[in-house]
Symmetry: C3
Subunit: 156 residues, 3 copies
Amino acid sequence: MADEATEAIRRLKYAYFRLLDTKHFAELGELFVEDGTTAYEGGVHRQHGREAIVEFLTTSLGDPAIVHLHNGHHPEIEIHGDGTATGTWYLEDKVLIPAYDLVIQGTALYDDTYVLVNGEWKIKHTGYQRIFEERRKFTTGELISFTSRFQPEKAG
Amino acid sequence: MADEATEAIRRLKYAYFRLLDTKHFAELGELFVEDGTTAYEGGVHRQHGREAIVEFLTTSLGDPAIVHLHNGHHPEIEIHGDGTATGTWYLEDKVLIPAYDLVIQGTALYDDTYVLVNGEWKIKHTGYQRIFEERRKFTTGELISFTSRFQPEKAG
Amino acid sequence: MADEATEAIRRLKYAYFRLLDTKHFAELGELFVEDGTTAYEGGVHRQHGREAIVEFLTTSLGDPAIVHLHNGHHPEIEIHGDGTATGTWYLEDKVLIPAYDLVIQGTALYDDTYVLVNGEWKIKHTGYQRIFEERRKFTTGELISFTSRFQPEKAG
């Protein structure tokens, strides 16, 4: 049972990343419970409710000229007896914004919670804390700024 | 049973990537059924039959001066009752071609089909559609061209 | 049973990478058996015993100004009947050393052995062989050197 739930939650998150990077934000919203919440970028970007999440993603990433990679690695899923679960994931992401000659790339650790609704696992909360983030010029690769959780001050 | 098949298919694909990036193309061919097919790069590169697949890979990537990374993430595997299965994967790839001062890197979504032959899962078809592709100078990192599924025209 | 062991070993390795990149080296040491061994970089860096492993990692990566990504993909785990297991993984890594204007990045294949101790899987041995390694300037992305298992001589 635990194995089946673990695989279902992995699949949920894989669908999330696939729908995110192909910009199917409304379908992505369906992976959350109605009152799902997010805390992206260590809580800098917080949304409450499916509608707000979809709107935030559409506003941030809806432009077809912005192209992105979000890969979730190393799933550590804990199934609780009461139809809830928690999960840690290792994110690698890269957002290409040619119009601003900008690439934002880095890594983060997700802390998610999931809930079983009518036999289907849904995202209750997703959020991550960065390990590091680089900003580089898209055309040349030159460093613009660098931050990490170990030394948050900017450099470059 | 479904779980066992899912894990077997994940292992099949992991072996594929390991054999690809270590240039063991003949062994990689054994992961396909005899009449397996490919449609790499959204169908630009199509091969029919194990022999043609191995020959294509040997010609494209056999040169030891060409070095490559192909990582498959986010397996979404569907096992069908009739000894067939389908799978979606999120590819991140990077091909380094120092002789041409070129790096080709990007992401894609795989659509594969698998078939159970004498108790062993084999690849029946593999193909992918790019999300984006960057070409950069290997020595400097400078952008040469950029395409995405959202805006296919070249830039840079 | 095999499935449960496979998942436990995946989790062990995922914890390893999480603790490595968040610099929790003492906790990481607990994932090894007391007499665990390593052979990083094809055996260039060998440690024997948990204490030596933790000391090596602390010395190499303890500086908070050094920031790193280690992602393990494509787990191919073999469970043996006698409480031991072996595993192959595909590593992608990136080490950012701003003080030396240096990024070291590349890929490798892990060959690990695991052992079951009081119902818990532990790392007995971990080691990897590089596929390729690039060294680039952190600030500009310019290539400094490049090596691969196919052509070990340096270039650039």
